[in-house]
């Protein structure tokens, strides 16, 4: 892929990649660093990118793997110090915690990973299911099942919080 083609086709994905990383990591600055690292990685292998069938799905797949690596390392760190504190550091104060958007964010961060990826790409990026299946490496049907489970889990968890109030 020529530099101009990279600038026209890969660089514009940076905002979407950033949102995706933020959803997976729940951290603005970490998400920005991830985009820089993933873009640098993609740039260094740009001469092979022309052969990629679905460039957008491919870039998001790389971002997903990158974020999962980071989460795996974090989990190990957390185990080491044995705290039960979730890593959603976007939520800073008690006041924000009561905000319903912050609650949804927190609930999403507690979903198992494939559910987080699928619900992000569907609800925030408005991708078709076949594109999402490319990123998760599942069949379209299975991606649909994951999506349905994630939505049901969110609704139930949200209603539970308010039922307890």
């Amino acid at each position: 892929m020529r530099p101009e083609e990279f600038q026209n086709r890969v660089l514009p994905l940076h905002a979407g990649l950033y949102r995706f990383a933020r959803s997976l990591l729940n951290h603005r600055e970490e998400a920005e660093d991830c985009v820089q690292e993933v873009m640098t990685k993609l740039w260094s292998k740009k001469n092979t990118l022309s052969h990629v069938r679905d460039l957008k799905a491919y870039c998001f797949q790389i971002m997903r793997n990158h974020c999962l690596d980071i989460l795996r390392k974090k989990k190990m760190d957390l185990k080491d110090i044995d705290t039960g504190i979730p890593s959603d550091s976007d939520v800073h104060t008690e006041a924000e915690m009561t905000d319903k958007l912050a609650i949804v964010q927190r609930l999403i961060s507690r979903l198992p990973e494939p559910q987080r990826t699928v619900i992000h790409l569907r609800s925030i990026e408005a991708w078709e299911m076949n594109e999402i299946a490319e990123v998760t490496g599942t069949t379209v049907e299975h991606a649909r099942v994951i999506l349905s489970r994630a939505r049901l889990a969110l609704r139930q968890a949200y209603q539970t919080i308010y039922a307890n109030d």
Binding site: N47, V145, R151
Partner: protein, 321 residues
């Protein structure tokens, strides 16, 4: 949307069966009113998704990302090597020398067949266009180490400037070394000349005696004579194989025949020696042989014949028309 419609859509939604359009309708529906009832999960979910859809990284971050493709080291890792790279990028002067050492190359090999043309992006950012029946190999570690390439055939190079790592092209026993420039190099095994047409930059060229070839000029190295045979203005049709454009400006018919022979890969013979001194002006986009010959025949009052083995042009009255 009626209550009933909404209920059906919501059921579909939680089953994972809604289309993107239907999800947009739901989103718009919940966006229409501010739900006072915070216990409504649907409202909260759609409100959250909407808030994230417009989330963008800051402008400072965008320039950090753009720096990746401009050849700069991203801000986080800025160091002295970055300054050296910028200095190299500003160096337009390039040097070409003949290289006599054989090289060990690991085979990253690319080849084109008859009539096939393609461009390749090398790991260092250099772009190479390969003409028909051309073969190139380049080293592993091209990205950070020495830049060595072997060429048989014809290629057009746009070399990424890097004055710390010269770009070497080996053509059999001899090679070209450049720092960063663009040029066309033709070195088919069946031909006795190696022809360099420089588009941009300044190039040192030669074996025993070296000459400087500026952008817009051509140098021809004759292998049997082991010497530079001629230095002339660049042939505007040197890269016609890549641009699909043939341009002749007051060109000698003998030179026109040479360009046509190269472009169409056919022998082009001028049967009447007097006609070699005729001049021809004209340009062709995506030229077809029959079309070009028709125009030349009409302009120079010549006959032409397309045969199995090639083309024959004849006639001696070109100056009369």
């Amino acid at each position: 949307m009626t209550e009933e419609e909404l209920e059906i859509l919501i059921d579909k939604y939680y089953n994972g069966d809604t289309t993107l359009d239907e999800e947009k309708r739901l989103s718009d529906h919940y966006d229409q009113f501010v739900a006072q009832e915070t216990g409504d999960a649907n409202y909260a979910l759609f409100a959250f998704f909407k808030s994230r859809q417009i989330d963008q990284p800051g402008p400072a971050f965008v320039s950090r990302i753009e720096a990746i493709t401009s050849g700069q080291v991203p801000v986080k890792q800025r160091n002295l090597a970055w300054i050296a790279r910028v200095a190299a990028a500003l160096t337009v002067v390039a040097a070409v020398v003949w290289w006599l050492l054989p090289l060990d190359m690991s085979p990253n090999e690319l080849a084109t067949g008859t009539g096939e043309r393609r461009s390749i992006d090398l790991p260092d950012g250099t772009v190479v266009w390969l003409n028909s029946n051309t073969n190139v190999e380049y080293d592993d570690g091209f990205e950070t180490g020495a830049r060595n390439m072997r060429l048989s055939g014809e290629a057009y190079f746009e070399v990424k400037p890097d004055h710390e790592r010269p770009f070497r092209i080996h053509t059999g026993k001899v090679a070209v070394e450049v720092l960063g420039t663009s040029f066309n190099l033709r070195s088919y095994p069946s031909e006795t000349d190696i022809v360099l047409n420089v588009t941009t930059g300044l190039v040192k060229f030669g074996s025993k005696e070296k000459v400087e070839v500026a952008g817009g000029n051509r140098a021809t190295y004759n292998i049997p004579a082991n010497a530079i045979r001629s230095l002339t203005p660049a042939n505007p049709n040197a890269t016609a194989w890549k641009t699909r454009r043939l341009v002749f400006e007051d060109a000698l018919l003998g030179d026109v025949a040479d360009d046509l022979a190269r472009y169409f890969d056919k022998s082009v013979v001028i049967e009447t020696p007097e006609a070699l001194n005729c001049h021809f002006t004209g340009s062709f986009e995506k030229p077809e042989l029959a079309e070009v010959l028709k125009v030349i025949g009409y302009t120079l009052n010549m006959e032409y014949d397309i045969r199995e083995g090639g083309v024959v042009l004849s006639g001696q009255n070109c100056s009369t028309k």
